[in-house]
């Protein structure tokens, strides 16, 4: 894959956001809010950071990405399509009967999807397995996991956190899409996981804290995380749910509700 420059990445992020709005709009369902908050991370990974080959999705040495917060599938699908895994024209089939673009990612149906997710809490464990396989096979690839603040409520997250540190699993780089909202309300009002940085540190992870919409910061943080030896790395990315569309930002109504056709038009104008 050709590595895109910062300016080009910004353009890609805008393009991915347009896809997210259009896909959820066309499907009249889906999760725009958490897709928009994860956009920069996915764009930086697929268009700059990751070693991967859309022509050969099973290339054994590829870097892997597990979208643990599977409901952000529109962002993943848009990134995969724009990377060349499939024709972006098929994005309009999102959530339609027979489409490989299932509501939540399905590794059997869509090449490029590394893990089937949608039941929150599982992605970190799967990523650990991939990173352990790398170690056994003495390969150099990295495994990335995108998890979320709501997902931290799940017990399995902490099983995985403890186990990865104990087994000194490196080449494992997780992002926490910390958008401060879950489904019913803000994380503050549902199940506040603070102090988050201290939690991951106390679980013996290498921890960085960044602005999750700052592409430069993402690139820098990943370069640093790659150098971590004998420990897993967590990049806590402060984000805005619904980022990029004014009426969706910090408006958790758009967690799992698609924009209306008028809202789609309004949003696309903002994303020109």
């Amino acid at each position: 894959m050709e590595m895109l420059s910062l300016e080009q990445l910004k353009e890609k992020a805008k393009l991915v956001r347009r896809h997210i709005v259009e896909m959820t709009g066309a499907a009249a369902s889906g999760h725009p809010g958490g897709s928009l908050s994860a956009t920069e991370m996915l764009v930086a990974l697929y268009f700059n950071l990751m070693q991967h080959n859309p022509q050969d999705p099973q290339w054994p040495d590829r870097d892997r990405l597990v979208l643990s917060k599977g409901h952000a599938s529109p962002a993943l699908y848009a990134a995969l399509a724009e990377s060349g895994y499939f024709d972006p024209g098929t994005l309009k089939d999102f959530r339609k009967l027979g489409s490989p673009l299932q509501g939540h990612p399905d590794r059997r149906r869509l090449p490029g999807v590394e893990a089937s997710t949608g039941s929150l809490g599982q992605g970190l464990s799967i990523g650990i397995g991939m990173a352990l396989a790398r170690r056994l096979d003495q390969k150099d690839y990295y495994t990335y996991v995108i998890t979320s603040d709501g997902e931290m409520n799940e017990g399995q997250t902490w099983e995985a956190a403890a186990m990865a540190a104990h087994h000194k699993v490196d080449h494992l780089i997780a992002f926490l899409d910390y958008n401060k909202f879950q489904l019913d309300d803000s994380t503050k009002n549902i199940c506040d996981m603070e102090p988050v940085v201290e939690k991951w540190k106390s679980f013996r992870w290498d921890v960085q804290e960044i602005d999750g919409h700052d592409l430069k910061a993402i690139l820098r943080a990943v370069e640093k995380a790659k150098k971590v030896k004998n420990a897993p790395a967590m990049i806590i990315a402060h984000t805005v749910k619904g980022k990029g569309v004014s009426f969706m930002e910090n408006n958790n109504q758009f967690h799992g509700v698609a924009p209306t056709p008028e809202e789609v038009q309004k949003a696309l104008k903002e994303l020109e």
Partner: protein, 313 residues
């Protein structure tokens, strides 16, 4: 019938696992702090670099195994059946079955023959849960000979497999060299009046029951139905047509076990008189394994009684 005890199926598993690991370097073994009980421990001593003890965390255990399998490894994971299946179920559903990954799952201490530890450690619902997952093969070996062979078959099979092993020493039922295939029952005794389909500890009891029934002039056939899924429907149909009376015996909750599977199949293909020897919708308790089998009606006298009832004698 002479009752000659062999090794526990969990021991047979542990010993075979080392052989399997020698042959296939992609085999990795994971456990959740029960390796000395599940018998994955010996593997960890021979191949420490291919063994991961994740700690007491069954959900993560399953997820990590899925990740390893997605990179071409063949994970064999074990814990007590009771904990592994219930705490790892969503992970089995999503990360393994739905994802079509080649993960081998060994639930040890299946059934009530766990004994003194009591109900919290006993799995009476694992077969119901694991057979409900599309793509999973589900196996309950009855003795060390079948356990060894079926562990090898499991290693060769591409796709998720659940094997239930048992805690106590198991009576030897099969002759050395018997061939075992996943999904193929083994006929141990030919009958013409009734067929007993059993797995696990109930296979020996079924053979014993068949001898007692023979004394009263009833010729009972006995099949070791070690695989619950995929079900050997051809063999079941053949037996149903031949004897017209089917009895299913298993160390499992009556809801959702081998009996349910056989009944569902026969109801559509060849309805016939049926009877079930299983745990009657209750949790068990502490006690010696034999005492519990007797108290919960999982012994040959219960099979004899049920058989006579089905036959109206």
């Amino acid at each position: 019938m002479e009752k000659k005890f062999g090794k526990a199926t969990r021991d047979a598993y542990g010993e075979t696992l080392i052989e399997v690991g020698k042959k296939d370097l992609n085999v990795v073994v994971l456990d959740a702090d029960l390796s000395k009980s599940t018998k994955s421990y010996p593997f960890s001593q021979v191949f420490p670099e291919r063994f991961f003890n994740v700690g007491i965390q069954e959900a993560n255990l399953v997820g990590v195994a899925a990740g390893l399998a997605s990179c071409g490894k063949i994970p064999f994971i074990s814990s007590f059946a009771s904990f592994l299946v219930s705490k790892g179920f969503d992970q089995f559903r999503m990360a393994v079955a739905f994802s079509e990954l080649n993960v081998k799952v060994i639930g040890s201490h299946g059934g009530i023959t766990v004994g003194e530890d009591g109900a919290s450690q006993m799995s009476i619902e694992d077969i119901a849960l694991m057979t409900s997952l599309p793509g999973f093969s589900v196996i309950v070996p009855c003795d060390e000979i079948s356990a060894r062979a079926l562990v090898w078959e499991t290693a060769k099979h591409v796709g998720p497999v659940y094997i239930r092993t048992g805690r106590p020493k198991a009576p030897v039922v099969h002759k050395p060299g018997t061939e075992f295939k996943i999904g193929k029952g083994v006929r141990l005794r030919d009958g013409k009046d009734i067929t007993i389909l059993a797995n696990g500890f109930l296979v020996f009891e079924a053979l014993e029951a068949a001898e007692r029934l023979a004394d009263t002039g009833i010729q009972a056939g006995v099949i070791d139905m070690h695989t619950v899924k995929p079900l050997d429907t051809a063999l079941i149909l053949e037996e149903a047509k031949k004897t017209g009376h089917i009895l299913v015996a298993e160390e499992h909750q009556i809801w959702g076990g081998l009996g349910s599977a056989v009944a569902t199949f026969l109801a559509g293909k060849h309805p016939c008189k049926m009877g079930f020897v299983a745990i009657q919708d209750t949790f068990a308790e502490s006690g010696k394994a034999e005492e519990l089998l007797e108290k919960y009606g999982l012994t040959f006298p219960a099979i004899v009684k049920t058989a006579k009832k089905i036959l109206g004698r």
